[in-house]
Amino acid sequence: MTQAVQNLVDGLGQGSIFALLALGLTLIFGVMHLLNFAHGELITVSSYVAYALASRGAGWETLALAIVATSVLTAVAIEFLAFRWVRGANEFTMLLTSFGVHFVVAALFLMYVSPRPLNIPKPGWIFQTVRIAGVALEVVDLATIAATALTLAATSWLLRKTLFGIALRAAAEDFDAARIMGVRSNRVIRGAFALSGVLAGVAGIFWLMRTGTAAPSAGLTPLLFGVIAAIVGGLGSLGGAVLGGLALGLTQVFLRAWLPPDLSGLTEGLIFVLIALLFILRPQGFVTVHRAERV
């Protein structure tokens, strides 16, 4: 029982990171029909900024702010420099462009910074646990879950109560109809990227806190799980993305706990088997999404 609660919290902690990334990916997919494989670069670039600041003695409070700011700026810059030029192109072209951005960013850090992973000191409390009702829980999991809950609440408020958020949802449902209503393409797409940057920034804080590594492909693993979570969630449903992320984190942790030790290396493989099963039973993912055709 105790073990199950620990696993639950651990899984939700992991899953929160995937959920935030999946939500950002889904926002961008909604307004552009782009599955953004360059989304991990937000964490990659942030990891180097965090490394640079940490090596000058900055604490994690400063790093956290810097990671979110870097992530937002990187998201907006990538949109402006790369995706604006292929907007309206077919989805395959945009997908390849996002791969291109990933490889360019990774190559730049490889050539001009260091091919080796650099160490970002983890915060002192990362390995601490707190006892709640007799169950020892990791502080970092609780912090991740709390920060994610706050971020999701703020995002939900933004999407429902502000004119920008409503326009973003409208554009995600039918981009051309939103344009006819006067929604500016550039503004709503830039906004979606900035918001996805905030979400990836919060995810990045806790990812980098756990890994403590700046590397040319630091964002690759979280990106892949984010993409899987977004697809599992139904690709296009914001709630589905969050659900997909949490489900993925929980599955990962519980599989690892239940598999015999000598089989735990199969966790990732089994996750893909489960995803394949999900898509056989429910090809549309957790949440069914209706999309308008474009003119």
Binding site: I166, A167, R169, E173, A177, R179, I180, M181, G182, S185
Partner: protein, 235 residues
Amino acid sequence: MLAVDGLSSRHGSITAIRDVSLRVEAGEVVGLIGPNGAGKSTLLNTLVGLLRPPAGRVVLEGRDVTGWPPDRMLRLGVALVPERRRLFADLTVMENLLVAGITATPTERKRRLEEVAELFPVLERRRTVPAGYLSGGEAQQLAIARALMSGPRLLLMDEPTLGLAPSLVGLVFDLVARLREEGHTLLVVEQNARRLLEVSDRAYLMRTGGIVAEGTGRELLDRHDLFEVYLGVEG
């Protein structure tokens, strides 16, 4: 108010239009009739900037606006009630109206929300319902209400009675007449040619991408030959 000269346009598989010229004067209701696939929707989509025309000119109040994007056209006062309405189904009625008023100042937006509530009492009662749950008649009223939220000077309507029960068709035409009395300028596309011509000051008949006849609503109504040849109905 609007002058279109030698306009051509096409996009993908939808009907192309060639060398279309027409005029809409301020305060007029202009009808655009023609069989399916005549290019009527292509023309309207090009006028609001969803499609960029490879040839021809669109002049709005003396300004060349050819190829301007939809959000700029809307800011110049050209609004479209699109074909099949294209409501944001997951957004509530209120949210649909708010997005449509995005170009207005907060004070204007508030005033227009009140105007729209008065014009469409049924929407006021359904304001918190997602647009996807509205009945056909309610949905069409929302589509028109949405276009009015920007305070348009030229309102384009693409098949406003499509899919409506016969009893509701009259409601839409009454509304067209009412908007005209209030001084709005309208360019309306309709399959329901006879009803449209009855409320139109002038009208154009389109067929296979071009305009083949024009005249006052009355004149076209009396051209029984056109009805038989182009619309396939008994005059």
